[in-house]
């Protein structure tokens, strides 16, 4: 498979994992160490580092899932990720940088469905034996406004 195909498959598997509520599998899409950051386009543009979510290890992603399952209180809801085509930005050895636009609808327990977030994944993948792991994922949300809370990962 070409790097493009490997990444497309990784992207498709990633969003199915979240949207089908298999969050325990979500950290496995990442290398360790890795960085996972959810931020806003305005912060990203200004070079501001603090994120809405900021993780620097796979362990922190596992902790995020445990907290969602065991600690945090929020109304039941699901996401539907709709992804655009990944653009391959660079390819050096086993490392591929890509950018992929996303749209996420949030479906609340009463059925209310809204566009929760739009933005892009800025990714650094490490590809080994036709499997892509995320060394970095920066989720850049187009808007700085988050409705109510951001519980499930993007």
């Amino acid at each position: 498979m070409s790097p493009f195909e490997v990444i497309v498959r990784a992207l498709a598997d990633y969003v199915r994992c979240i949207d089908e509520d298999r969050l325990e599998g979500w950290p496995d899409f990442f290398d360790d160490p890795c960085t996972y950051l959810i931020t806003t386009a305005a912060n990203h543009r200004e070079g501001l580092q603090a994120g809405i979510v900021f993780a620097t290890s796979r362990g922190m992603l596992v902790d995020r899932v445990s907290a969602l399952r065991e600690a945090n209180i929020y109304e039941r809801h699901t996401y539907r990720h709709i992804l655009g085509m990944p653009a391959i930005l660079s390819h050096e050895g086993d490392r591929v940088r890509s950018e992929t636009p996303f749209l996420v609808a949030r479906i609340m327990r009463d059925g209310a469905t809204d566009i929760f977030a739009t933005g892009r994944y800025l990714d650094l993948y490490r590809i080994r034996e036709e499997e892509a792991k995320l060394a970095e994922r920066t989720v850049v949300c187009d808007s700085s406004r988050i409705d109510t809370l951001l519980a499930l990962p993007l």
Partner: protein, 413 residues
């Protein structure tokens, strides 16, 4: 959910009851804008760091009122309503910027200096001797409403009121010293910003921030990791007006696990372990053992220290049942690399995805929806007695009662 009726407002006696119509009525919302947001209160506008250089500006809100904050060539900070005196359009359409010497309204190019003085009117003298403003028109007679501005510890506050006392008097020395504890002698640096849109009346958020009773019950993350337990050393300060408060706690990791929690069957006894505990490995920043200090300034400002996560929160009402919560995450100019990283990790505790604050984003909405058919029913605020005073216990709603005391004074309720 908004209630339009003009039924007489009868507040129950004492401070232990809050009628739910206070979160629902459109007429009260309008009244609050006048008596509180444009009334005798000070409001957080921005950080001095947001307008560090001459010609820098930032737009913000005081309640519904759009406001421009500027720094002029003399280094003075000014604030004025973002509304052209000609036909009412926004004067400035940007969130922030620099290098400004004037603002020009896009509609008819009426121009203002950085103090909000009208300094130019397009075609004032007409074109080829025709049209133009009448000779009686004087630019000096027309100015947007200018706010009084006060700077404190790197924060910029403003007020439309000519009468409210100076900011440090308004706050009182105890509140000022608690703010100084967090910010004093240092230069804040913005690490990030975001806005959380809350599906509830702004006062439900303020109640929540002031409510030290809920913290260790709703926020399991806090409790499980012993960042906060009501039985820990700590306390609550409520100022004389009731409107400002400080809740603080000091961690005592060696303290025996508290039987009171097990008795209440509160969800705090799970065997929850972090895979990456570096999230909570901070540094001793204040050398006083206080790991949490939540401070509010009436009506709508929060200064937060949660371990090494420092933030200011500005609350802007957007309607009877909608509120914008603007977060600004702070570091300081003298942070080491390791300290900065600790702050970035601990920022996971707060905000819309915060381990300990995501619940605060939804719980106000739970109340707003819960009371939809109960305008005349009342909340019960009896935890810790009936007064609105400081206490060594945080198992109290004293600062929530304090908020309503200050609110009713200003609203004449």
């Amino acid at each position: 959910m908004a209630v339009q009726t003009q039924a007489p407002l009868r507040w129950p006696a004492g401070l232990t009851r809050v009628p739910y119509w206070v979160f629902q009525r459109e007429d009260l919302y309008a009244d609050e804008q006048e008596r509180i947001f444009r009334g005798d209160c000070w409001h957080y506008l921005c950080l001095e760091a947001d307008i560090a250089k001459a010609g820098d500006f930032r737009t913000t809100f005081v309640g519904d009122a759009p406001v421009i904050v500027t720094r002029d060539r003399d280094g003075e900070v000014h604030a004025f309503e973002n509304r052209c005196v000609h036909r009412g359009a926004l004067i400035c359409l940007d969130d922030c910027g620099s290098g400004k010497t004037s603002f020009s309204c896009v509609y008819h190019a009426w121009t203002y200096d950085l103090r909000g003085n009208l300094i130019g009117v397009a075609f004032k003298d007409g074109v080829k001797g025709q049209g133009g403003m009448p000779p009686t028109f004087r630019m000096a007679d027309h100015a947007p409403r200018v706010l009084r501005v006060a700077r404190l510890l790197g924060l910029v506050f403003g007020t439309f009121s000519p009468d409210v006392p100076a900011l440090d008097t308004y706050l009182g020395s105890t509140i000022v010293s608690c703010m100084e504890r967090v910010l004093g002698g240092r230069t804040p640096v913005v690490l990030g910003r975001y806005t959380q849109v809350l599906p509830n009346n702004w006062k439900l958020y303020m109640e929540n921030v002031k409510d030290s009773y809920h913290a260790s019950i709703l926020h399991l993350f806090f409790t499980t990791f012993e960042i906060n337990r009501l039985s820990q050393k700590g306390g609550l300060i409520v100022d004389e007006s009731g409107g400002h408060h400080v809740s603080y706690s000091a961690i005592d990791r060696s303290a025996a696990r508290d039987a009171d929690y097990a008795k209440q069957q509160i969800r705090s006894e799970s065997e929850y372990q972090l895979q990456d505990p570096s999230l909570l490995e901070g540094f001793d920043e204040y050398r006083d053992g206080v790991t949490l200090q939540i401070l509010t300034v009436f009506p709508a400002f929060v200064l937060q220290q949660v371990q090494n996560s420092i933030a200011v929160r500005q609350i802007v009402p957007r309607g009877v049942s909608k509120t914008d919560l603007h977060w600004t995450i702070l570091g300081f100019a003298d942070d080491t690399g390791a300290q900065r990283l600790a702050r970035l990790k601990q920022a996971n505790l707060v905000g819309p995805a915060g381990y300990i604050s995501m619940e605060d984003g939804c719980v106000g909405g739970f109340v707003q929806r819960g009371i939809a058919a109960a305008a005349d029913a009342q909340a019960v605020l009896e935890m810790g007695g009936a007064a609105a005073e400081s206490s060594e216990s945080r198992a109290t709603e004293a600062s929530v009662r304090g908020f309503w005391k200050a609110y009713r004074t200003r609203m004449g309720l």
